[in-house]
Each structure stands twice: as structure tokens, then as C-alpha cells.
């Protein structure tokens, strides 16, 4: 019996928990892509996807939050319908929204690092200004890389890329940050 079982390299308990949470955060980011709220300024409805990116950083910290978003991109690339509009495939990773998608691991890592530093502690101990500041930086990362993506993929000039890809969406991002602060301050979430 033991000769057979010695070769099995069990994943240790703490890592199992992080892997499970990373997979759930990746899936939740995908599930948020299915929830849209009507928003007057934008041509397309606003989804909660970016909220998933924030939450990955807030709940899992910089390392596992970033890993969760890499997992999100990988699963989407091979066919899990997790991108906006239920899209999937490598095409989405070089499509018009490529820049935004590629920025997610970085943004989750940045949010996680600014909120937690190196070790992930309870969110209740983090002040609201710090939460909002971290997410504002995260939004900047997402839109900077997103606009660069529009320029590279569609050949748009910088002003046009900023206009179509950022300016019209930014007010909605403020709403999502307000929502994210509401979430991490919620009494219903003590497990985080």
C-alpha cells in the first residue's frame, strides 16, 4: 500500500484552500460578465466584471489574486465562456478588449499589494481611503493597458482610443468602486 501512495505528491492544505478560492474568484469574474446594468453614457451595458478583479486582489492578496486572474484568462482562452458577452477563445485575448483582459492579473496584483502588502490580513482592519485608493490605482492600470490594447489591435490613435475606450466608461467605474467598498464592509462577509 505505502509503496503505491508514496509517489502521490499531495497539495498541502493551505494551498488547496488558495487554489479553490482562486478558481472561485476566476469563475466569479466570469459570472459577473453575465450581470449587466443599464448605463446611460455607454453604448454597451456595464457589467460587473471589473468587480471580480478588485475582489480577487482584496480577498486573495497580490500573489493568489494575480494567479486567479491568470487562471481566468487561461480558462477563457481554451473555451470557458468567461469573457464579456459569454465569449471565449484565444481570439478574445487579441481582440478589441485584449488590453483590458491582459491588465487583470496586474490590476488584481496591484490592488492586493496596496491593500495587504505581503501578507494577507483581514479586510476589516483596512481603512476605506486605502481601499478606494488601491482600487483607483487598479482602475488606472486597467484603462492604461486597455487603451494601449485598442491602439495596438485596432490601430486607433491615442485620443480616439482614450475617447472610445476610457472616458465614456470611467463614471461607471466609480460606481463599481463604491459597490466594492460596500462589499468588503458588508456584515455578511466575515469569512474574508
Amino acid at each position: 500500500m505505502s509503496t503505491e501512495t508514496e509517489s502521490v505528491d499531495l497539495v498541502d492544505d493551505a494551498t488547496v484552500k488558495n487554489v479553490a478560492r482562486a478558481a472561485l474568484c476566476a469563475a466569479l469574474t466570469g459570472a459577473f460578465a453575465y450581470v449587466s446594468f443599464p448605463y446611460p453614457l455607454s453604448p454597451a451595458p456595464v457589467t460587473l466584471q471589473v468587480l471580480g478583479v478588485f475582489l480577487a486582489g482584496l480577498l486573495l492578496g497580490p500573489v493568489w489574486g494575480g494567479a486567479a486572474m491568470v487562471l481566468y484568462l487561461t480558462a477563457g482562452a481554451v473555451g470557458a465562456p468567461v469573457f464579456a458577452g459569454g465569449e471565449a477563445g484565444i481570439g478574445s485575448l487579441v481582440g478589441p478588449t485584449a488590453g483590458y483582459l491582459w491588465s487583470y492579473p496586474l490590476a488584481a496584483g496591484v490592488v492586493g499589494a496596496l491593500v495587504h502588502g505581503r501578507s494577507v490580513g483581514p479586510l476589516g482592519a483596512v481603512g476605506v481611503p486605502r481601499l478606494i485608493g488601491a482600487m483607483a490605482v487598479g482602475v488606472c492600470v486597467i484603462y492604461a493597458v486597455g487603451v494601449a490594447g485598442l491602439m495596438a489591435v485596432l490601430g486607433l490613435s491615442l485620443p480616439n482610443a482614450v475617447l472610445t475606450g476610457a472616458v465614456v466608461f470611467l463614471p461607471a467605474e466609480a460606481l463599481k468602486m463604491a459597490a466594492a467598498v460596500g462589499i468588503v464592509r458588508s456584515d455578511r462577509l466575515t469569512a474574508a
Binding site: 509517489s7 505528491d9 499531495l10 497539495v11 492544505d13 488547496v16 487554489v19 479553490a20 478560492r21 482562486a22 478558481a23 472561485l24 476566476a26 469563475a27 466569479l28 459570472a31 459577473f32 453575465y34 450581470v35 446594468f37 454597451a44 460587473l48 468587480l51 475582489l55 480577498l59 494567479a67 487562471l71 487561461t74 480558462a75 481554451v78 473555451g79 470557458a80 465562456p81 468567461v82 458577452g85 459569454g86 465569449e87 471565449a88 477563445g89 484565444i90 481570439g91 478574445s92 487579441v94 481582440g95 478589441p96 478588449t97 485596432l154 490601430g155 486607433l156 490613435s157 480616439n160 472610445t164 460606481l175 459597490a179 466594492a180 460596500g182 462589499i183 458588508s186 462577509l189 469569512a191
Partner: protein, 232 residues
């Protein structure tokens, strides 16, 4: 929605690594040859690839309909100038948009013809060690968990609407819905990790076997040709 469908088409019988290599080569070629002639040739190839997966161009385009506004807006906004409409500039951006459409079509063929266990094996072949194991297994988990969480959010939204949540501000509704989503997800995380541990979740499991077949050789040659064409 575009998803894997069991079948016996040519694309279904190819090794997932071949299909991934072909897609990447197609992307490289499309970015290198964004000219009317180059894109015309790639259009024929893309249609051939779709046919090899028994997928009609219409359903592939429909699957990516949310990307279409972006692809249309690009040339329009670039063409607009203070003095009128600059056709040359719009045409250039139009070509860039069109190449993206072709790439999307090609990736639709992969999604339609490749089951998750094969993708997972290809991921772990390409990314060695524990990072690869994390991405491979994690991908399988995401496929499993996504429908659960989508259903959670749908139920939460219905319950909110039934209690007239529409009277509240948008960010409050977002927060309420997202809290429920996160709460369910974290609740499931505990049960999920328990099940993983009980079933000996390991770094070194037996992977689905991948073998290149006779069909893969010409497909890989095509992919290599595409990639090399980018140099000229």
C-alpha cells in the same frame, strides 16, 4: 453561446497542441499581413478552418457579436476628421478590425472542437511544474464552477427584483448582488476544498494522454508555414 460540442470533424480529431499552435501562427500572420491581399488569403484559410470544425461562419460571428460594435466603431471614429471623412485612414483601421474578426473566427473553431480535458493536458504540457498544474486543474474547476455561480447570481437578482430593488441606486444594487455572489462563492470554496482534499488532490496526477496523429503533421506544417510567412 459558443462551447465544446462532441463530434468527429477533422478539427475534433486533431491534437489540442496542434490547434493551439495553428491559432497562434494565424494571429502572427494576420498581424504581419494586414493588407487586402494578405487578409483575402487568410479569409479563405479561416473559412477552411471553420469548415474543418463543422461550424458555420454565421454562428461563429454571432458568438462574438459583443465585439462587433468595437470593430465597427474603430474605422468610423478614425475616419472622422474636422474637415469631413478621411477614407484612407478609415480603410487602414478597417483592415485592422477585419483581421481581428478573422482571428475570432479561428478561435471559435478551437472552442467548438476541443474538450476541456484535452485543453488541460495541453496547458500542462506547455507550462511545466506546479504553475502548469495550477492552471490545468484550475481551468477544469472554472468550467465546473462558472455555471453554478451564474445560476447563483441569477437567483439573487430575481429575489432582489421581487422585492423591488429597482427603486434603489445602481451602485447599491450592484453591491447587494455582488455581496450575494461573493458570499455564495466563498461558501462553496469551503465545501470545494474539503472535497479536493478528501479525494487526494495532488500535484502529479495522471494526465489525459495526448498523441500526435497522422492528421497533425500537415496541420503543424501549415502552422509553421503561417508563422514563417510573417518574416517576409
Amino acid at each position: 453561446m459558443l462551447s465544446y460540442t462532441p463530434g468527429s470533424s477533422l478539427a475534433h480529431r486533431l491534437d489540442p497542441r496542434t490547434k493551439l499552435a495553428a491559432q497562434i501562427a494565424f494571429v502572427v500572420a494576420a498581424f504581419a499581413h494586414t493588407t487586402p491581399g494578405g487578409l483575402a488569403a487568410l479569409t479563405l484559410l479561416a473559412l477552411g478552418i471553420l469548415a474543418s470544425a463543422h461550424l458555420s461562419p454565421y454562428s461563429a460571428i454571432y458568438a462574438y457579436r459583443f465585439a462587433l460594435p468595437f470593430l465597427l466603431v474603430g474605422p468610423l471614429i478614425e475616419g472622422l476628421t474636422l474637415g469631413g471623412f478621411d477614407l484612407t485612414r478609415a480603410f487602414e483601421t478597417g483592415l485592422a478590425s477585419y483581421r481581428v474578426l478573422l482571428i475570432l473566427l479561428v478561435s471559435a473553431a478551437y472552442v467548438r472542437s476541443t474538450p476541456v480535458r484535452e485543453s488541460r493536458a495541453a496547458i500542462q504540457w506547455a507550462v511545466p511544474g506546479k504553475p502548469g498544474a495550477f492552471l490545468g486543474m484550475g481551468t477544469a474547476f472554472v468550467f465546473r464552477l462558472l455555471p453554478l455561480l451564474v445560476a447563483d447570481l441569477k437567483r439573487a437578482r430575481e429575489a432582489m427584483n421581487a422585492r423591488l430593488a429597482s427603486e434603489r441606486a445602481v451602485h447599491e444594487r450592484m453591491a447587494l448582488l455582488a455581496v450575494t455572489g461573493v458570499e455564495r462563492a466563498l461558501g462553496r470554496a469551503d465545501g470545494f476544498s474539503l472535497a479536493l482534499r478528501a479525494r487526494c488532490f495532488a500535484w502529479n496526477p495522471t494526465l489525459p494522454a495526448l498523441t500526435f496523429g497522422r492528421l497533425d503533421l500537415p496541420a503543424l506544417a501549415l502552422a509553421a508555414g503561417l508563422a514563417l510567412s510573417a518574416l517576409y
